[in-house]
């Protein structure tokens, strides 16, 4: 196997039982450099749990995770912390640090985890916030930002760590419809810039245009996977297509 073929991330046989219920049943997939894989599926399918099992925020009951060919030994704290630095995560409800302004939200992990000095961390944080279009909001606190701005700060915060991959857990689901666009456009820029990503979303249009592969999850398993044009085309007859057309109807009703 040549090195360029080696996946950046490989996830194998992830299983998780929470509260007696099987949330993940042997989920496996891998990610090549620069790929964007989109997880779709109904609520409760296990998308969030899967993403959080990948960086061990939820320790999986079974399964293995490899980053660039090295298996992660999650029991070794030092290895785990080093691994997590390389995996950026974006949450549905932003999870900004409420006591820090936008600049400090991005800078704190650079200072405390990457041990950068104050000035270097600040410069980097400013650059990342400018990249997501928030160069004029550096001093504002989370309580003073809109949902879309908060999510962009959280993306800047993750990017500042120079992650090798990004896990995005429904980054637009908590946003008002008019704010979704600004966040999606940041993610689109990332995808075009070659960032390797796993994205859980209900944004079907976005998925169609940008996904390299669609993974459809239901009841804790990936039950369908394939190119978006195959899986989501009107007469494909797939479960994914059925799900998406119902989502489309839902959004049509809302408009």
């Amino acid at each position: 196997m040549t090195e360029s073929k080696e996946p950046v991330l490989r996830v194998d046989n992830i299983c998780k039982i929470l509260g007696g219920k099987k949330i993940l049943r042997s989920v496996s997939f891998s990610l090549q450099r620069g790929e964007l894989k989109v997880l779709i599926g109904p609520s409760g399918a296990g998308k969030s749990t899967l993403l959080q099992c990948i960086n061990f925020l939820i320790p999986p009951d079974k399964g293995h995770v490899w980053l660039e060919g090295t298996e992660i030994q999650s029991r070794r704290k030092r290895d785990l912390y080093a691994f997590r630095q390389q995996v950026g995560m974006i949450f549905q409800d932003f999870n900004l640090f409420d006591h820090l302004n936008a600049l400090e939200n991005v800078a704190i992990s650079l200072r405390k985890v990457k041990k950068m000095n104050r000035q270097a961390a600040r410069d980097r944080a400013v650059a990342e916030l400018e990249r997501v279009g928030l160069g004029d909001k550096l001093g504002l606190f989370p309580a003073e930002l809109s949902g879309g701005q908060k999510q962009r700060v959280s993306i800047a915060r993750a990017l500042a760590m120079d992650p090798k991959i990004m896990l995005l857990d429904e980054p637009t689901s908590a946003l008002d419809p008019e704010l979704i666009g600004e966040v999606l456009s940041v993610i689109r820029d990332l995808a075009r810039g070659g960032m390797t990503m796993v994205l859980a979303t209900h944004q079907i249009g976005f998925t169609r245009t940008l996904a390299d592969e669609v993974l459809f999850m239901e009841n804790g398993s990936i039950i369908e996977r394939g190119l978006p044009e195959e899986l989501l085309s009107p007469n494909s007859g797939t479960r994914s297509r059925d799900f998406c057309s119902r989502l489309d109807e839902l959004y049509a009703e809302n408009e």
Binding site: F94, F97, D98
Partner: protein, 221 residues
């Protein structure tokens, strides 16, 4: 009015006592708060065994009278070969007691912080310790501040118990004069006024700290 009594006896004695009271209150307040933050954090996020121990600590020191604790420290420990002078015994007693109360306010503050912030910090490689120190506690302490301030004001007043184990502070000095002259009413009115001034100053200081730490989104806008 017997000004000579005030000028030559009562006020000098009370001022002497006031100095001792302040010497008791400041270290007890600061260390008590610091220890309370540690205990409160362990009670909320500690390993189950440590959590039990910290809960036991809070139970004992909140569940028994401070006077009993002071007597045991001062008169009881010598049985184990540990001799504390009255001042040290009093300060230790105040620290243990106030930290138990502080821990409860801190616990309330910690529980009010959304779990998502812990996940966010850990997803970037923060260790549990760094997550606590850098992300969670700065917010929890802000939320707990009004309660902790309350405990510090309470400490100012219960510091008067020190005189019972022979550490003569404000109340103790006054008591001696009152007993000798039998002027209980005057003496204790003046002592009460001293405490009122102390508490007023502490309240003002706590308010300043709260203002200094104020952040949009915390407390009133």
């Amino acid at each position: 009015m017997d000004t000579a009594f005030y000028a030559t006896q009562l006020i000098p004695a009370l001022n002497r006592g006031l100095v001792m009271s302040i010497k008791l209150i400041i270290p007890s307040g600061l260390v008590g708060l610091g220890l309370g933050i540690v205990i409160g954090t362990l009670r909320t996020f500690g390993h189950p065994v440590i959590r039990k121990a910290a809960n036991g600590y809070a139970m004992i020191f909140r569940g028994t009278p401070l006077l009993v604790q002071l007597f045991l420290l001062y008169f009881g420990l010598p049985n184990l070969g540990i001799y504390l002078d009255a001042y040290t015994a009093a300060v230790i007693g105040f620290i243990l007691c106030s930290s138990a109360y502080h821990s409860e306010y801190i616990r309330g503050g910690l529980l009010s912080i959304k779990k998502g912030q812990i996940l966010a910090a850990q997803s970037m490689g923060f260790s549990t310790f760094k997550t606590m120190v850098n992300i969670i506690l700065p917010q929890a302490v802000r939320r707990a501040l009004p309660g902790c301030g309350n405990e510090i004001i309470y400490l100012i007043k219960y510091s008067s118990l020190a005189y019972i184990i022979t550490c003569i502070e404000l109340t103790g000095e006054g008591k001696i004069i009152a007993t000798r002259t039998f002027r209980y009413t005057e003496v204790f009115l003046v002592i009460g006024f001293y405490y009122l001034v102390l508490v007023t100053m502490a309240t003002f200081l706590l308010q300043k700290i709260e203002e200094k730490l104020k952040i949009p989104g915390f407390g009133k806008a």
